[in-house]
């Protein structure tokens, strides 16, 4: 492929019509809202159907994208489906540039203003189609889970409506081809997150949690808007000049960032602002406080939004517009970037907080925050592919973990999530859930050969290989902490003596505890009203009489499927195996990671909606695919040098670390040590109640201080709410109130008074004097005229006679005069 060949890239119906994937859930939402309550399954079937259709289209898109990439790599026309799977993958020899596979774009202009066109539609490339398929798949499974889990809820239909709309919003965001559509999807997600967290808004704790989530993310969203604006103003002129596009188009932004002509200030501050949005949405320090509170929502919501899909929106944003961050933070040249630091801090602090939680969902929430920190760490240090791979695997096992927690609460602990009070020893009663939980935990902690091992260790490996040794150790420490807190949670839930509801205690006890927990506000996100609890009882009335038991099929099947993927998803990109089995095993690297190859601008512009584009492979291969050999950085090519005139780059040449056996062993060893310590501690502390350990925090002041610090979440909530919000909100509120009373009300009152006085004046002067005067005057004139003429009606005959003869004489005179003269 050295010669400049023109290649026809294959496209396909699924790729060109991928916008349906975003549209169908939105339509589903409207249908559920309109007709859901009258349907036999109360709207759930519409949600399931729309997600199933979206999944089918997404999977079709995956297949066609694979074909497209193959047709680009092999230089042949699009092969058949069998060919695409059967052929060994890319024929390009090592060290040669693989051609850039342009995304399939289908968009319509929905508004234009002075030449600036705003489009809506889809732009499908590897990252987009991966996430679309992932979101559709996970949402479908969670919806199946919810059919049984949420049964009997007072707002069953709206739950499904909101969930369908959420997935529509996320899909819209993922497939967007410009920033405006991305913001649209982002905001839809924020809205539905609010709706779903506050699903049981009758309890104040839940509505406060929903508001906290919304506002905290909102603080970040300011960064999104500011960042979009900065990038627009930076990129627009370049995009118009070079690509016949505008500053909102994501591809144009990517090309602009890597063009070398971009103003570094725009890049830097745009990157900072956009990353602030990611901090908010993806729960990074310091805006992570909303995520644990968001566990107030129903478990399916936690498993879908706040673990697998919505919270990775921030990570997706960074991955999508990666060139901006790459150039803005100089990731390529090894600078310690803002993203990496935040990510590293988040890993540690969230992991520490997970130790002191009694609520199983909060443990998982902090775990999610920590794992998101891993993804950000990866992106911040140039490990793009491992971070995206971690999104992929994390979705499976974290969703499985949450669904297991839901299953436990649904059938094991009488709707309670408190591990210390209502769980324990459930492994015998709920074997399937226990098995899935264990598998997912092993995946989460990165044990070979489960999914997390391949992705998380890749991140850590690349972080180290790119030169960030300290951050690598932070990542390893985080892995150890992950193992420890997950062990604690596992032990409290599934081992030991059954406590509380897990022991099958009667309704009264459990209820009293639940309500007590509600009032304290600690732990129990179990915020149903008494009536709804009664509803729930009505549905599984038989459950409580015989204590904890395994959940029903609709709950277990999604869990099992997800656990299966937690085991196997890692093999989508098992880099350590590449040296033995060839690069072909690295599926995500081939098909998802964009190629750092320049393509000529003429070809970019020529590619229209869904059309195959003819691309020209460069005659000289810039070694953008560096790092295969030594793990070093390649210092030329996209992301490092400006592309030649007439060509544009869309993705920087990220490096890939060569996996070393020693590093793998090291991380596994650290995880094993973590497990060992944790198991020993749990057995000693929770099991045997070892005297040395029990009450340690009360006896030791330092430990107690640390414990309280963690328990109060580093006092961040107090800082945000009591100090910052109060200092800003109260004066504003007072000022607004003053304006309302003194200015607005005064104005309104004055207008009213003025109107009244004007009316009075008009009445007195104009109405009474002029109008009435005219009316009266005309009457007076008529009457006086009548009076005046009355004298002729004297009733006297002689006068009448005088008049008669006089008039006759006059008339005669007139006649005579007329006739004679």
């Amino acid at each position: 492929m050295l010669a400049a060949d023109a290649i026809e890239l294959s496209s396909g119906w699924f790729l060109e019509n991928a916008w349906l994937v975003g549209l169908i859930p939105v339509i589903g939402f409207a249908v559920i809202i309109g007709f859901g309550k009258r349907l036999p399954m109360k709207g759930a079937e519409v949600g399931l159907a729309s997600m199933a259709i979206s999944l089918v289209i997404a999977l079709g898109g995956v297949v066609q994208w694979i074909q497209r990439t193959n047709s680009a790599d092999t230089g042949e026309e699009a092969g058949s489906l069998i060919q695409a799977f059967g052929r060994t993958l890319p024929q390009a020899t090592e060290g040669e540039a693989k051609p850039f596979v342009t995304p399939v774009v289908t968009s319509w202009v929905w508004w234009q203003n002075s030449g600036l066109e705003f489009g809506i539609g889809s732009s499908i490339d590897g990252l987009a189609i991966l996430l679309i398929a992932l979101v559709a798949f996970i949402t479908l499974l969670v919806m199946i889970f919810s059919v049984d889990y949420v049964r009997g809820d007072r707002r069953y239909t709206h739950f499904f409506a909101a969930m369908t709309l959420f997935s529509g919003g996320m899909l819209i965001m993922v497939m967007s081809e410009n920033m405006v559509q991305l913001i649209l999807g982002w905001e839809i997600m924020g809205l539905t997150s609010f709706m779903l967290i506050g699903h049981w808004w009758e309890e104040e704790a839940n509505s406060r949690a929903a508001l906290k989530a919304f506002f905290t993310v909102r603080v970040g969203d300011v960064g999104l808007l500011v960042g979009t604006a900065i990038i627009f103003f930076g990129a627009n002129q370049w995009a118009v000049d070079n690509l016949d596009s505008n500053g909102f188009n994501i591809a144009a932004i990517q090309a602009w960032a890597l063009s070398g002509e971009a103003n570094t200030q725009f890049l830097l501050w745009g990157a900072v602002a956009l990353f602030i949005a990611c901090i908010g949405k993806s729960g990074q320090f310091p805006l992570h406080t909303w995520l644990p509170d968001a566990m107030a929502g129903p478990t399916p919501v936690s498993s879908l939004l706040h673990s697998s899909t919505m919270v990775v929106a921030g990570v997706f944003l960074v991955a999508r517009i990666y060139p901006v961050f790459w150039e803005g933070f100089n990731i390529g040249t090894g600078g310690l970037s803002f993203i990496a630091i935040i990510g590293a801090i988040t890993i540690v602090i969230a992991a520490l907080l997970a130790f002191v939680q009694d609520d199983i969902k909060k443990v998982l929430a902090y775990s999610t925050v920590s794992q998101l920190g891993y993804m950000m760490l990866g992106l911040g240090t140039g490990a793009w592919l491992p971070a995206v791979f971690h999104i992929f695997t994390h979705a499976f096992f974290k969703c499985a973990l949450f669904l297991c927690a839901g299953s436990v609460s649904h059938s094991g602990s009488h709707h309670s999530f408190d591990m210390k009070k209502d769980m324990g020893g459930l492994r015998k009663k709920m074997p399937v859930t226990f098995a899935a939980w264990c598998v997912s935990t092993l995946a989460l902690t990165g044990v070979f050969p489960f999914a997390g091992f391949w992705s998380k260790d890749e991140i850590i490996d690349n972080v180290g290989a790119n030169g960030y040794t300290f951050l690598m150790w932070v990542g390893l420490a985080g892995a150890a902490l992950t193992a420890m807190y997950m062990t604690r949670a596992t032990y409290l839930t599934f081992f030991g003596e059954p406590r509380g509801a897990a022991a099958g205690h009667g309704h009264d006890d459990a209820h009293a505890e639940e309500h007590e927990m509600e009032h304290i506000g600690v732990g129990a996100p179990e915020p149903r009203s008494l009536g709804a609890a009664a509803n729930a009882h009505g549905d599984d009335g038989s459950d409580h009489s015989d204590g904890p038991h395994e959940s029903g099929k609709l709950i277990l099947i999604p869990i099992v499927i997800l656990a299966f993927f937690a085991v196997t998803a890692g093999f989508a990109n098992p880099t350590p195996l590449a040296s033995r089995f060839g690069e072909g095993v690295e599926v995500l690297k081939t098909y998802v990671e964009p190629r750092a190859t320049p393509i000529s601008t003429g070809e970019v512009i020529a590619s229209g909606p869904g059309e195959s584009v003819r691309i020209v492979t460069p005659s000289v291969a810039p070694s953008a695919e560096g790092g295969e050999g030594e793990g070093g950085h390649s210092k030329s090519g996209c992301g490092f040098t400006a592309p030649e005139t007439g060509t544009v780059c869309f993705f920087p040449g990220v490096s890939h670390a060569e996996p070393k056996f020693a590093k793998i062993l090291l991380s596994l060893a650290i995880v094993a040590v973590g497990y060992a310590l944790a198991i020993a501690f749990c057995v000693a502390f929770y099991g045997r109640r070892d005297e040395r350990l029990v009450g340690l925090t009360e006896r030791n002041r330092a430990l107690r201080g640390g414990f309280l610090f963690l328990k109060n979440k580093y006092y961040l909530d107090a800082l945000y709410e009591n100090v910052i919000v109060r200092a800003i909100a109260h004066p504003i509120a007072n000022a607004a109130y003053w304006v309302n009373q003194k200015v607005i009300d005064a104005t309104v009152n004055e207008v009213g008074i003025g109107t009244r006085k004007t009316g009075q004046w008009v009445y007195d002067n104009i109405d009474q004097k002029v109008v009435d005067g005219a009316v009266n005057g005309s009457g007076w004139a008529a009457s006086e005229a009548g009076h005046g003429l009355q004298s002729t009606q004297s009733g006297k005959v002689s006068q009448y006679g005088a008049l008669l003869f006089g008039a006759a004489a006059v008339g005669a005179i007139v006649l005579v005069l007329v006739n004679v003269s």
Binding site: Q790, Q793, S794, G795, K796, V797, S798, Q799, G801, A802, F805
Partner: protein
Amino acid sequence: MLAVNFLLLAAALFSIGVYGVIARRNAVMVLMSIELILNAVTLNLVAFALMNGAIDGQVFALFVIAIAAAEVGVGLAMVLMIYRNRKSIALDELSEMKG
């Protein structure tokens, strides 16, 4: 003799009758003035009959006389009635139709 003789004479009688209708207060006096007027007209008719040699004027004059008689009869009957009701036939007191 000149035609104008009769005609002027009739005109004079007519004018005097008009004055009488206007100026007189007593209802009977007014009726008498009306008789004057009628006679003036009748004189005119006869004079024209003489002028033109047609006898129709005299025929018409006879008609006028007859009608005048009828009119006086009825008129005086009405005056009598008024007198019975009002005890007065001063026309300036009979202004019930005053508007």
